[in-house]
Assembly symmetry: C2
Homo-oligomer: 339 residues x 2
DNA sequence: ATATACTACTAAAGCGCTTTAGGAGACAGC
DNA sequence: GCTGTCTCCTAAAGCGCTTTAGTAGTATAT
């Protein structure tokens, strides 16, 4: 059923040229005659020749594949794929995407396969903040850039949004609406972006002379949205005159809103909610979540940039990028209601 | 910076064996001694050998890559990636994912690159119902399976949900709730799944002796959700005592709901809405869209099955699969309100 | 002892491409 | 004439693996 594709060998034979002449013509080498080059190119077009990427990559010891390893593609990082895809296309790069489903064993498998596929680089949102396994297997083989705030070790390549700046935007927005009793909701997982958000929250609360109202989900709270739901209920139970809440993840914020409204509290009339990430769901008309959006395109560009740089220069100096997030105001926040 | 990985050659030299002996040991060939095999395997583990997939694929003339070409990854088909990813892993397959953004030129580029990467198969949600370009370039080179209802040519491989059965489930659900004045909303794009839904709608309306209330979006309506919004408004303008509406796509249904509620009509109190696809957004608590969900896992399994079958047997007989969708009842539908 | 068959290995070609080294021919300078 | 220097092309090795053909060596049958 499958017919043999046109190879350079066939082109060469057809034209009575050597294989290398054809290769040089196709790859714009300097030491090839203009006429010969034109001849080869026209013949290639005529016969419908297209280069075999695997063979090319193997011979060049470099590849046009970029690995993308995401904990959960149904998240902001999965949504970022769309931007990555666009940037990759600009450079004739191809994305091999994996969803690890938060399983370290799967993550390991993915990384190994990318190495074996000679990927020119790997983007990964690591399952665990302990990335030593990833570093060890990829060390001196393929550049890795960590995405999202879980890893911000200055010795590594990473790209994430500036969670401190984003948090400040969110909180100042609430404060600008007159809110003072502001709660923070976050999940139990440690990450540098979480601790950054927490620090900014604390300093702003201190600035206002307000006590900290921090709600942390516990391990057994199920998925992130359910965890948010639980915290929404806890906020109500706290009887703590809270008028606004900042949630460190949009998905969790949706859960918080659900918990709040199910408990009979209107958002934003009684409590304002702002999330973080800028997931697609936040923009739905029936959701309308005010959120701090990560600049996907810019982050995608930076990640590909870094990987391309490493591939070319084999430059061992780590590169970071803190992307400036942008507050998107929607329906879930409103001025505080005066008593 | 990049160090040379362990190759079979190194293993062979280290053990004083031939290259082929090593290859056979690693690949479970019959004509290799048990002791030798054990020796090779342990040495491989010791030296941390892993096979170069590109080289292997090139030599075997078959690859472990599967191409996935999706019009818009932020859609039900993008969400299906998660299932595809899981199935692919079972067979040691790797997914090269592209988002064509509905651009035929990009689609062409993606397909060509997959051919050049020696993909063992391609899953595609085609931009246009005219897939002759795709067929021509992939013919006799790589098996293709079309996903979604846009292509259901019996001469081709395709997998999609049974839109007739799904539509019937949706409409019978509404009818069971007492609805008789049921509208159908669809977009202007032709596709076999759309025509199937329309046909079932017509026959059921005829069965009830009700007139057809069909709302078709027009070309200039913007994205699918905006198009739905427009139709939601049109439904209100129609003054046609409509109590329920079936929308052929969830994203569009969200737009319809938005149009309806913005026009002051409560969903589901005044008008029930049911969608089709089962996108993640439909399950959000603040959305709660009743919908006909496509069985993602089953469809993913079938697609990989088909591709694997074609790759092995080079069997030219086309295969189809109509997956049975499943009605998921949520908040957006309610019993008709008696006047 | 010889033919037969089987086992366990090696040699070598090949997958389709890149790349290095080298060589033929043209042309200039002295 | 010889050397040197171009330009344009070829030969051949190599990327890391698979696979075919072939060959020792041992065991079995006659």
């Amino acid at each position: 059923m499958f017919c043999k594709p046109v190879t350079m060998r066939m082109l060469a034979d057809e034209l009575g040229l050597s294989l290398s002449a054809v290769s040089k013509a196709l790859n714009d080498y300097p030491d090839i005659g203009q006429e010969t080059k034109a001849l080869v190119l026209s013949k290639a077009a005529e016969m419908g020749y297209t280069p075999n990427l695997l063979a090319r990559n193997l011979a060049k010891k470099t590849s046009s594949f970029v690995g993308v390893v995401i904990r959960d593609v149904n998240s902001i990082y999965g949504e970022m794929f769309k931007s990555l895809n666009e940037v990759a296309r600009r450079y004739d790069l191809h994305l091999i995407l994996y969803d690890t489903d938060n399983d370290p064993a799967v993550e390991k498998w993915c990384i190994q396969n990318l190495i074996d596929s000679m990927a020119m680089g790997i983007v990964v949102t690591p399952v665990s903040e302990d990335v030593s396994g990833i570093l060890e297997s990829t060390r001196d083989r393929v550049p890795v850039v960590f995405l999202g705030g879980r890893v911000t070790n200055p010795a590594l390549n990473y790209v994430c949004s500036d969670s401190r700046a984003g948090t400040e935007q969110a909180l100042r927005h609430l404060m600008g609406l007159g809110h003072r009793h502001i709660a923070l909701v976050c999940d139990h997982k440690q990450s540098s972006s979480r601790s950054g958000k927490l620090a900014v929250y604390r300093s702003l609360m201190a600035e206002m002379g307000e006590p900290e109202r921090v709600f942390v989900s516990s391990e057994g709270d199920g998925n992130i949205m359910q965890a948010g739901y639980r915290q929404g209920r806890r906020i109500l139970e706290s009887k703590d005159e809270i008028t606004a809440v900042f949630v460190v993840k949009d998905m969790m914020a949706l859960g918080v809103i659900h918990g709040l409204t199910e408990g009979g509290v209107q958002v934003p009339e009684q409590i304002s909610v702002v999330g973080y990430d800028g997931i697609n769901e936040a923009a739905l008309p029936m959701v309308g979540l005010t959120t701090v959006a990560q600049p996907r395109m810019e982050m995608a560009e930076k990640m590909i940039d870094i990987l391309r740089g490493k591939a070319e220069d084999a430059n061992p100096a780590p590169e970071h990028w803190l992307a400036e997030p942008r507050l998107v105001v929607r329906r879930s926040t409103a001025p505080v209601r005066m008593k």
